[in-house]
């Protein structure tokens, strides 16, 4: 891929001391340099073992594994119960939910289109109405999955110089948060009906677009972020610093972009209860439509949202350290495990610098031992 080289170089800037996390013992294991023998040079077992370990299990793939629930309908009385459940979910709940959603859309457009056209002159009023309509529409969405959302902590307030960051499991994260407060978002442009919604509705709450595959995009986006955060009338900005959907059991590294805007960072932790449905959206496995359909044919979507205390960049702290500190807060609150991987590794290969680091350690060790 042509774009790969430049983006992987830039990814390095985001990554703090990844080498600390990767096993980087010298090829020869022991600390004190001994004489170099043929056996030492031929013994590649540590490197081979690392490779085999990665083949057998690795922490990156674990982040995107959707754990299919254990089938519980395996005997004579549970199976009919489960069948009844399927009938209720698909035959009764799903049509009802679809109708609710349709109803919601009708009300939404009935309010949005007039407001958008007629109130062109009165910006403030138009935006206020559009904001409320978007919040309402999101509530309809949440109702269409029988969403049971518990919000903890103070409700976000509308003021400048703050940005909200949250862990990312699915695009529904945005809907769940949006029903409480109309956030502005930064999103990857999607195709299809989602793209259409992005273009029309989300423009009204304020949206910043980015394109993962364009490396030059980063500076443009960084500038737009900064401008948005300064603006007094803008909706509070919501960013998902992981950059990709993760399975709500792990968090991948946060991109430092949101942490160097010179403003307060308000962390939000979201944890889904898998009891009725696994809300993780594996964008490589299903389209968003299929994902929504799965949610709409399940019993409920249960989750907790915690609004945590706003954080500021401490003196002497780098943006990356700040990002890690906030990630720590969110991971602790939502009970997620942290892994030291960049979420973009889903789409790109790791930087060759990591391999070079290992080579450097090996080479230095060999040369040092040769001196003796």
């Amino acid at each position: 891929m042509a774009g790969m080289e430049s983006t992987s170089a830039e990814m390095d800037l985001d990554r703090p001391n990844l080498e600390e996390y990767l096993p980087s013992d010298s090829i020869h294991g022991s600390g004190s340099p001994k004489n170099l023998h043929l056996r030492d040079l031929l013994d590649i077992s540590p490197t081979l073992t690392e490779a085999a370990g990665a083949i057998v299990d690795d922490s990156f793939t674990r982040c995107f594994k959707s754990n299919s629930p254990e089938p519980w309908n395996w005997n004579i009385y549970l199976f009919p119960l489960w069948c009844t459940g399927v009938v209720v979910r698909y035959g009764i709940l799903f049509p009802l939910r679809l109708l609710t959603l349709l109803f919601g859309w009708i009300i939404f457009w009935a309010g949005f289109i007039p407001a958008h056209i007629l109130l062109k002159g009165q910006e403030k009023l138009r935006r206020k109405i559009e904001r409320k309509l978007v919040e309402m529409m999101c509530s309809f969405f949440v109702a269409s999955w029988t969403g049971v959302v518990k919000y903890h902590g103070p409700r976000p307030s509308m003021r400048p110089h703050q940005v909200f960051v949250a862990n990312h499991t699915s695009m529904i994260d945005f809907i769940i948060l949006e029903q409480m407060t109309a956030f502005a978002v930064i999103m990857q442009k999607h195709p299809g009906w989602v793209g259409f919604i992005q273009k029309t509705i989300l423009e009204s709450v304020g949206c910043i677009w980015f394109n993962r595959t364009e490396s030059k995009d980063r500076e443009v986006v960084a500038r737009k972020l900064r401008e948005h955060v300064q603006g007094v009338d803008n909706n509070p900005l919501l960013i998902f610093p992981e950059g990709t959907c993760v399975n709500n059991q792990y968090t991948v590294m946060f991109k430092k972009g949101s942490f160097e805007l010179g403003c307060a960072v308000c962390p939000i932790a979201i944890k889904y209860n898998k009891i009725f449905v696994d809300a993780f959206w594996n964008s490589k496995k299903q389209s968003f439509t299929n994902h929504l359909l799965r949610l709409m044919t399940s019993w409920a979507v249960v989750c907790d949202v915690w609004y945590l205390e706003p954080q500021y960049l401490q003196p002497g702290e780098t943006a990356i350290e700040f990002a890690e500190r906030v990630r720590d807060m969110i991971a602790t609150r939502a009970g997620l495990k942290k892994v030291p991987w960049d979420g973009y590794l889903k789409y790109f290969r790791p930087s060759p610098k990591l391999t070079e680091k290992k080579q450097q350690i090996f080479a230095e060790d060999v040369l040092r031992r040769l001196e003796k």
Binding site: L36, T47, T49, A52, G53, T61, T355
Partner: protein, 175 residues
């Protein structure tokens, strides 16, 4: 693919176990099958080089390309056999056999000075010059009593490694 352990019959598991000389327990083979299916995203029946490289921990390994040549196109049975070298149940002899195979890229039973140089190149990258690598290798060869143009066979490897401990084990997680 979801829960694919149901796709493997008891007969299949026993066949795989035979093939890898009982290096793994039946539970471990089931886990490895789940892992294999997880890596084989397009369900082609084998894990392609690309699919292996999508595991970042593997992709950053200096010997990744070397191993990919051995791993490419393996079906599940062969995949388990490949990994069997890393089981705690395999013997010292079998582990050294595996290491020999990694070096012996043309599979002719002989590991030459150049074969070892190749691996050294992968391991040291641009941090050692070609001259330095040749110097190091010649030095240790001479010290062990081999001429630079001699090629090593498996028994040489056994002699060189001797009885010293070889730490070459991975743990197969049993979900």
């Amino acid at each position: 693919m979801g829960n694919s352990s149901s796709m493997l019959t008891q007969y299949d598991i026993e066949e795989v176990q035979e093939h890898c000389n009982h290096a793994f327990s039946q539970q471990e083979i089931l886990s490895l099958y789940n892992r294999f299916c997880q890596l084989d995203k397009n369900s082609g029946g084998f894990v392609s080089a690309d699919e292996f490289m999508s595991v970042p921990e593997f992709a950053v390994n200096p010997l990744a390309q070397r191993l990919l040549r051995m791993l490419d196109g393996l079906n599940f049975k062969e995949f388990v056999a490949f990994l069997s070298a890393f089981s705690p149940r395999t013997t010292h002899h079998q582990k050294i056999e595996f290491i020999f195979k990694v070096y012996d890229s043309d599979c002719n039973g002989k590991v030459t000075f150049d074969d070892i140089l190749c691996i050294l190149r992968d391991l040291s990258g641009s941090f050692m010059s070609e001259q330095q690598r040749q110097k190091v290798l010649t030095h240790v060869f001479q010290e062990a009593g081999y001429k630079p143009d001699s090629s090593l066979v498996f028994s040489d490897f056994m002699k060189i490694f001797g009885n010293s401990e070889l730490k070459m084990e991975v743990e197969v997680p049993i979900d």
